[in-house]
Symmetry: C2
Subunit: 485 residues, 2 copies
């Protein structure tokens, strides 16, 4: 498959460039990096290390095999034959002109040339003849899906498709505008916050609490307008606007003025920020942030709201191109292959017992798909319900480790589906066995029933194939000594 | 205990007043409501119904028994003898003066009188002689912890304590200021967003996506400043400010102007909002929002960040005043009593198999606490690791239903702790049994070891007490037929 890999060139490897590199790399792209900074390789490796421990935890399926990461000292070589070029150099228009101009000459005509600019418009970026689009991402780029796209429609189209394929959410702007959309909103909050600190109304920590204890939580799953629509109650958006419209002309903001960035203000804010967060290193803060984001996005996957829906959609696409029907191990189908997210671990510093069962439960779902009892079958009113399970915990598993699950069909006749999952740490350390008995169920009556003929046949076929394979550990009761043990 | 219950008076029972009522009620307070609106009782009941399905799902312990909800047609009777009065009438200063003045005369001298005002300062609210403080909450009040407190220190102190006891996060302002802190930030975003819509740059839906796909997720767990501190990378906050300070004077916002609220702008926004969210009723949107918030806050409980930390702290307090050591059922300790959150259910419309085990795992933690192997014991380097479990799923359980878990100690000698959990739907439908074998483990060597003497003794004592109780369903293997079955 490696001949089909696509390649991205990352020009400028700071926090944003590194985030782009990680996003592409962990989605199976080869990544070429060009950055004259002698420290670039170290910095970028740290971003990628963060991404490796966080991004796979979003998904209940394995990401593609990582691509190859190569550093180039020559920009022309870095962009030769690539599919995407991402420029993330500092926010100086003259520098952007120089770099984007060179990239437009050197990169293949078919390659998208994206600029990570926070504020410049395509007309400004391309004033010296470049052919870039704005592709503005958000830190951490490997976790947050938003990319604001601005530019010519014929260039935006292919970019959109590529971004979706690496799990991102392209938002195409209708018009070019300074700072696009999100940064205009951020800028407004930033200004108002600077005034609050400067005027001694609140510290940086108090402002952060005001955000994360209230509207930050609302905005992670719905935005401003949908939240206000709800606040309007049954009377809806017009009612809300009638109620809160007048406040617009009240003196609720100081936004008409721009606070001057004096050394005193910088010291005040930096000092307050140290008092608030100085007990943790930036690396620790990044990991805390990433674990929080992964945990929240996993929660949003349930409803499909916002970024949770993006993750679910990407995961479904992974299922089609990835392991599943085809992968086997020891003669058994591989029904899960994934990384353990930090939120699956507990106070003992290892994967909590609950999530061994969760991994097995997802493997059962996968086996159901394989025998034709997937989402469509369930929507049509039939499913399998678990009636009994038995778990043997054999080895500890830690956050970030990869696990593989194989599934043996012990019995698949009548209403019964009797499965024996083996959960491997990596590929070859048996960490648990999970034996499960399920009964086919009619979802309207909630009573057991016979499965559809094709499902019964597929299951019987697997049971036949698996009958010769040993199943040590199945059929045991809790506390039973192993034979000879 | 009901003589020790505190009472809150809710004056004005709309979305905000109803949210306050629900917050107090579900935390065991009696609630008196005064609202002349003939429709108030219906509206408030709907908010409380939402709260009943969402708030308990935040916690892995039961909330206190609900208090009594009473509607009064007479303000004096509603506030007689209460501990807290919360005013949530419309945002008109003359009306606030009238209501707060009356409340200050009628309510006990010891009662806190809080105003939910979004914008007015205490000096304005009390200009006609009232003694109110600002206690400004955020919708949904029963889920979001933030309350901005502004007023005299001697009134703020007791208010702070009460708010913490009902799971909220009081943020005390250093100075009074129009619109306090959070609404100043919201107002800035609201103004900028109105311009973006008015100028045709983005629709309401696009703006919501720009928020919830990116910075909304960041802000739910850290705020603005901590996020920017990280963005500065290793060089920290000063570096960030040096990098993005200059942009403050660039034309990134239109905030110097206030958009005029013409009928055309109202229609444009209301129409876009209908296109975005009109396929769902307000009630559906509220429930989606609440389920999302509960799921995300449960994820944040893992790290204790932001509102997750507030929930964890409140839960610990619930453990001390609530069930646990004392509660028993059928001669066995009650080790869990809780409501099933929506995020525990799956595509089959019932609690997923994984969460039966999660409930049992939390019950095991509770039993460990009871025998002296709680958080302190684990911090000191010893714990119990599960080596085997067996689950029988007997009945379906749905979101919002209450479950109770009892724990029988089958064996507690040497390194072994052999438990038999019964999971009841409500109090009397046996929905599952979970049999678990754990081994005492030294956390530094990760090898099994003997427990501390007091733990061994407490466990042996429980095992002795429980030996006479039957344990039908224990010692079974998967698929074994029940005796005589």
């Amino acid at each position: 498959m490696s001949s089909a890999r696509k390649t991205a060139a990352i020009v400028g490897g700071g926090v944003i460039g590194g985030g782009w590199a990680a996003r592409f790399l962990l989605n199976g792209w080869n990544v070429n990096v060009f950055d004259p900074d002698p420290d670039a390789e170290r910095k970028l490796s740290e971003v990628i290390a963060n991404a490796r421990r966080a991004l796979p935890g979003l998904y209940d399926r394995a990401l593609p095999e990582e691509g190859a990461l190569t550093f180039y000292g020559d920009m022309a070589k870095a962009v030769a034959g690539v599919d995407w070029v991402q420029e993330s150099v500092p926010e100086q228009l003259a520098l952007k002109h120089k770099v984007l101009g060179a990239l437009s000459d050197l990169a293949p005509e078919t390659a998208v040339i994206g600029s990570s600019t926070s504020g410049f418009k395509p007309s400004e970026l391309n004033a010296a003849g470049a052919r870039a689009i704005v592709a503005h991402p958000f830190n951490p780029v490997y976790l947050l899906p938003l990319v604001e796209l601005v530019g010519l429609p014929e260039r935006i189209g292919p970019a959109t498709e590529i971004l979706r394929s690496v799990g991102m959410f392209p938002l195409v702007l209708r018009k070019e505008i300074d700072a696009h959309i999100a940064d205009r909103l951020l800028e407004a909050v930033w200004r108002e916050s600077l005034w609050l600190v400067k005027d001694g109304v609140a510290t940086t920590e108090e402002i952060d609490e005001a955000i994360r204890m209230a509207f930050g939580i609302r905005w992670a799953q719905m935005g401003l307008f949908e939240t206000y629509r709800i606040a309007g109650g049954e009377a809806g958006m017009k009612h809300f606007m009638a109620q809160f419209g007048p406040a617009l002309s009240w003196p609720w903001t100081k936004l008409m003025d721009v606070p001057e960035f004096t050394p005193e203000l910088v010291d005040l804010i930096a000092g307050q920020s140290d008092a608030q967060s100085g007990h943790m290193s930036i690396r620790q803060l990044e990991r805390l942030r990433d674990d929080n984001i992964v945990g929240m996005l996993r929660a949003l996957k349930r409803s499909g709201s916002g970024a949770g829906g993006v993750v679910t959609g990407h995961e479904a696409a992974l299922g089609q191109t990835n392991i599943g029907q085809t992968g086997t191990k020891d003669g058994l189908p591989v029904t899960a292959r994934r990384q353990v997210p930090a939120c699956w671990t507990d106070y003992n510093g290892h994967m909590n017992e609950t999530h061994y069962l969760e991994a097995a439960s997802l493997a059962t779902d996968r086996l159901m798909e394989m025998v034709g009892a997937g989402a469509d079958y369930i929507s049509a009113g039939r499913s399998y319900f678990t009636v009994e399970s038995h778990i043997r915990y054999l080895e500890e598993v830690r956050a970030g480790e990869r696990i593989t699950v194989t599934t043996q069909v012990l019995q698949g006749t009548g209403k019964k589906m009797h499965l024996f999952h083996r959960l491997w740490r990596g590929d070859d350390v048996l960490a648990a066995t999970i034996e499960v008995l399920l009964l086919h169920t009619d979802l309207s009556t909630r009573r057991s029933s016979l499965p559809a003929q094709p499902v019964a046949e597929a299951l019987a076929e697997l049971a036949g194939k698996h009958a010769q394979i040993e199943s040590t550990g199945a059929g045991r009761f809790v506390g039973e000594r192993p034979p000879g043990g």
